[in-house]
Amino acid sequence: MENMVNVYLFGKKYQVPSSLTIMKAMEYAGYQLVRGCGCRNGFCGACSTIYRIKGDKELKACLACQTKVEDNMYVATLPFFPLVKEVYDIQKISPSEQIMMQLYPEIYACVGCNACTKACTQGLNVMQYIAYAQRGDFESCAEESFDCVMCGVCSSRCPAGISHPQVAELSRRLYGKYIAPETTHLLERVKEIDDGKYKELIETLMNKPISELKELYNNREIEK
């Protein structure tokens, strides 16, 4: 007999095998999920969940698809959180401190409680990346926030009402577009293709008989 534990889904008690993730435990209990379930692999941020182990003061947050159940776990999923997403034109803004002032001025109201970092389901240093954003250091903000899945748990815990994942998203786009070094070989290749440089070469391949292509393929030179 598999080892069973008690979990309380939205307060109601169920017995489930201890090897299950919270998501699979909900399904085992009979929930047909529509919300709160996306990639099931820890990338999409759909299944943010808060929980408390009975007798423990601390409220914890996690992704339901990535976290094993524990005995006496009280679980509430957070399938949606109203993050504030400001709208902007990426082609027209510039990577300056002013852009954060304009779009997300609430980041300057951070009280330094660090609740965001403690809540992060990815173990990121959220408060630190907000500090970088305040200073207009978009590169550091982008790097520090890179593994963010935008689940929104940080924002649910923030007394200043900051939408951390959206601040990070803006920083990453600013960095990727304006600050990261330009790739010359890419732009040159795009131009070559636009000028039709490879058209004939590929069309020649397309018109060869399969037998000849097999020969070419099986004997092609492979970069070390």
Partner: protein, 535 residues
């Protein structure tokens, strides 16, 4: 430390014992004949009992897997409904079904072209396989590479079965796809001088795999999503398309939608429809676990098939060589090919490397299945597996390489007490990708239905009968953009007649005439894992 069995721990010691010696040498590559042999004997695509012949529809007489036949020849959800098509709830120029990478790219380009665009998705924008693509995206943009070399790699890797005109566009528009993404703010891995950091993938002859650490798909997807939202393109989430609507001329003219929570039925009228619904891993073909997201149930194929959309290569699937085999909690989850690109070898229970790590995916997966069937696999909670020797990456690339290049993998296993920098991991093939799909021409339109465009994994024929790593992230961008641009032109010349669902009734009649009386409702929309051990 993860709670491995004694047998697993014993085997792990053997892997450690041979590691240093293995680091120095690559396993020899298979010859063309050896590849053919291992595929025929061990690839799941060759298990004839898993297939059946379609009795109705545009691909009547062709074989597909039972699970796909069930939904293609399933019962329409609208048959018993009374739907008033004369008063649409939505009217738009371009309706996009699906909001992953392909749908979002299409939306942005159609918006650029001046069309009124609307997206519907049964989950949320970005809850898609795109989000989970870890390894990277191919593009021939280095001086020693060219789109022609990329063409040959992909054509050969796909067993010379790709539609040449589609592959032509894929490789020719690849560098521009990277430029476009970079311009939207996607953070590619670059050297300080701006040179792209590129690596090999299985079957590539040049290092052309671009990446954003091992969050490549996630970084691309969240950027596209942000852009869609910035443009104010409406995204109707938690709303599935359950049937295409046509007009009395037989052109596609919209879709019947269903609110996934309230089950309300809505009608969307559109001059052009783009199907970007992705793959089918959640049909669990042949009982395989899958690396796919929750909504990957081949819905787009079902909608198109009932409306007369011809499929191409619907019988061929990609089993990714390295799905997690242990811990059981993440059974089937993707372990990116990049782990092998960075130098980790596949090793059997005796500590022996048994295949060159970067053969094409189908050959590598078949070789793993072969090794296990020879008794050289390691027993796992859910079956068996072989080792992927991740500590080799740190030996070959220097300490810190894993944390820098594959942080998501380190995190995924770290949660279960497995430090992949120090211990190898157990893997087994997992259902990963639908090679086949709806047959399209080079402008993205279905070859058999007017006004219906298709992009992304729902397309068949871009890659042939197998796909190389990094060509899927590429195809969703390239063909998403193509569909969006084409639709953005096409809608201007479309005048719709009265809307109808007659094609659904006639398909139902065909089913009955063929002696089929299906009870399974399709599209499937979501898998059902309640009250049973989830795969």
């Amino acid at each position: 430390m993860y709670n491995y069995t004694n047998e697993q721990l014993e085997s792990m010691k053997k892997v450690e014992a041979t590691r240093q010696e293995r680091c120095g040498k690559l396993h020899r590559r298979l010859t063309a004949e050896e590849k053919d042999a291992v595929l025929k004997e061990y690839h799941p695509d060759y298990i004839t009992s898993a297939y059946e012949v379609l009795k109705v529809g545009p691909n009547k007489g062709e074989k597909v897997l039972h699970e796909l036949a069930d939904v293609l020849q399933g019962k329409s959800r609208v048959l018993d409904m009374d739907i008033d098509l004369s008063k649409p709830d939505y009217e738009t120029d371009v309706l996009i079904i699906g909001a992953g990478g392909a749908g979002s790219s299409a939306a942005i380009e159609a918006d650029n072209a001046g069309a009124k665009v609307m997206m519907v998705t049964k989950l949320r924008i970005g809850d898609a396989n795109t989000m989970m693509a870890e390894g990277g995206i191919q593009a021939a943009d280095k001086p020693n590479d060219s789109p022609a070399i990329h063409y040959l790699d992909a054509f050969g890797g796909g067993h010379f079965a790709a539609k040449p005109e589609l592959l032509y566009r894929l490789v020719s528009e690849a560098p521009d796809a990277i430029r476009w993404l970079n311009d939207l703010g996607v953070m590619f891995d670059k050297m300080p001088d701006g040179t792209m950091v590129t690596t090999h993938g299985g079957g590539t002859s040049r290092k052309r795999m671009h990446a954003c650490k091992d969050y490549s798909g996630a970084e691309i997807m969240r950027t596209l999503r942000d852009e869609v939202l910035n443009r104010g393109i409406p995204v109707i989430d938690f709303t599935s398309a359950i049937e295409l609507i046509k007009d009395t001329d037989g052109k596609v003219a919209g879709a019947v939608l269903m609110n996934m929570e309230t089950k309300d039925i809505l009608v969307a009228k559109a001059k052009v429809v783009i199907i970007a619904t992705g793959g089918a891993g959640r049909l669990h073909y042949q009982g395989f676990p899958t690396s796919n997201h929750y909504g990957a149930t081949a819905d787009g194929l079902v909608l198109a098939y009932r409306a007369g959309g011809k499929l191409l290569y619907a019988d061929t699937l990609q089993y990714h060589p390295t799905g997690a085999a242990e811990p059981t909690q993440i059974f089937g989850a993707l372990v990116t090919e990049k782990v092998r690109s960075l130098g980790a070898q596949l090793v059997n229970k005796n500590g022996e490397a048994f295949v060159y790590s970067l053969e094409t995916r189908d050959v590598t997966a078949s070789s793993i299945i072969k090794e296990c069937s020879k008794g050289n696999g390691v027993k796992t909670t859910d079956g068996q597996g072989v080792w992927l020797d991740t500590p080799q990456i740190e030996i070959l690339g220097g300490e810190g390489t894993i944390e820098k290049r594959i942080p998501a993998m380190m995190r995924m296993f770290g949660k279960y007490g497995i430090d992949i920098r120090k211990e190898p991991i157990l893997i087994y093939p997992t259902l990963h990708y639908q090679n086949g799909g709806i047959d399209i021409s080079a402008d993205g339109m279905s070859t058999t239905i007017e006004n219906l465009y298709v992009a992304g994994e729902a397309v068949g024929g871009i890659h042939g009968r197998n796909r190389l790593m990094g060509n899927s992230l590429l195809d969703i961008i390239v063909f998403g953009r193509i569909a969006g641009k084409s639709a953005g032109k096409k809608f201007k010349e479309v005048t719709l007649k009265d809307l109808t669902l007659d094609h659904v009734k006639s398909f139902d009649k065909e089913l009955k005439d063929a002696g089929l009386n299906p009870e399974i409702l399709s599209p499937k929309l979501l898998p059902n894992y309640t009250k049973q051990p989830a795969i």
